[in-house]
Symmetry: C2
Subunit: 213 residues, 2 copies
Amino acid sequence: MAVRVDLNISLDGFATTTDQTPENPFGEDWGRLTAAYVATRTMQERVFGNADSGTTGIDEKYAAAYFEGIGAEIMGAGMFGLHLHGDDPDWRGWWGEEPPFRCPVFVLTHAERPSIEFANGTSFHFVAASPREALEQAQEAACKRDVRVGGGASVVRDFLLAGLVDRLHVAIAPILLGRGIRLWDDLRGLESGYEVTSETDDESGTVHLTFSR
Amino acid sequence: MAVRVDLNISLDGFATTTDQTPENPFGEDWGRLTAAYVATRTMQERVFGNADSGTTGIDEKYAAAYFEGIGAEIMGAGMFGLHLHGDDPDWRGWWGEEPPFRCPVFVLTHAERPSIEFANGTSFHFVAASPREALEQAQEAACKRDVRVGGGASVVRDFLLAGLVDRLHVAIAPILLGRGIRLWDDLRGLESGYEVTSETDDESGTVHLTFSR
């Protein structure tokens, strides 16, 4: 029942991009940040429905592990899209009718919204809760499987600061964004109490760094 | 005649630490930032005079290459120690009578100080110059060998912003300092025009990332 985080960050530490507009809801930077991850076989199959395509190297190893053993997810309001679409009562997230989570997802927000259920096992529940309270709800829903804290950066930082994360994997893209929300602010000494390992995908240049305890 | 940079940075991007005091002139953070580098065979021999000791892995590969082919060095006033010792006319740097450079070193400062010469080939020259002007002087002194921009972080950033650096190697220590001077500020898009490669020292966990053109 580990609590896991996987984030794509730039070399200068930006995990959440801020160049989004309603017309380009992920922004240009997000595409560059996640390009290597999106290119993997797992993501091509699971998110885009492209069977038998995608990369199969170190990046894919992490992408395949991403969904494995996860029983519930927690995400911030921004990741679900409420910062842009909170006024729309029919907003159901970015992911169409096949959200890739296939488990209960707890969205941290003070807005009251009814839960949403999808046929593939994904459900979204909107909760106003502290990191610890949200985690308790998610762990109960996860039926002894792991809980992922999905993002964005400031939500992950709250969980890290509360000492709740057992495994933090960052995929560092070899690019400098110079803008966005930093993952690493105020986390001095985080490495204490974790073992840190890393490896590189030679093709994409992505550095995969894992803190585990 | 390449222009080269090698820096030790933390995972959160701090290349220059700011916890120095006159009593502890490098600070605690500096020791942690450079521990893997100081532990290498090359550094143990060249800086500390300990023959046949030190690590021999990936970290050592970069440490050995550090001094190779360098004909001159450029550094900021802070790296030479003028921020703490600028009032002392007898200050000769941190490195005793055997500074590890063994070549002409140009220290960027508006203070006028006489040059200093050491028996091992190291000399320090104090120049008030733009990055481009300082580089011209250093390249002339380097006799067609490479020039290193040694640091600190803000001096390196000035040279990067001026497009003067041909090879940037950062050794990323898997620690979060949360304070200091960031290398990566204002460098959005730096990767354009460079090839970026990386590899990890499995023992120390240091990620070596190289931008080259």
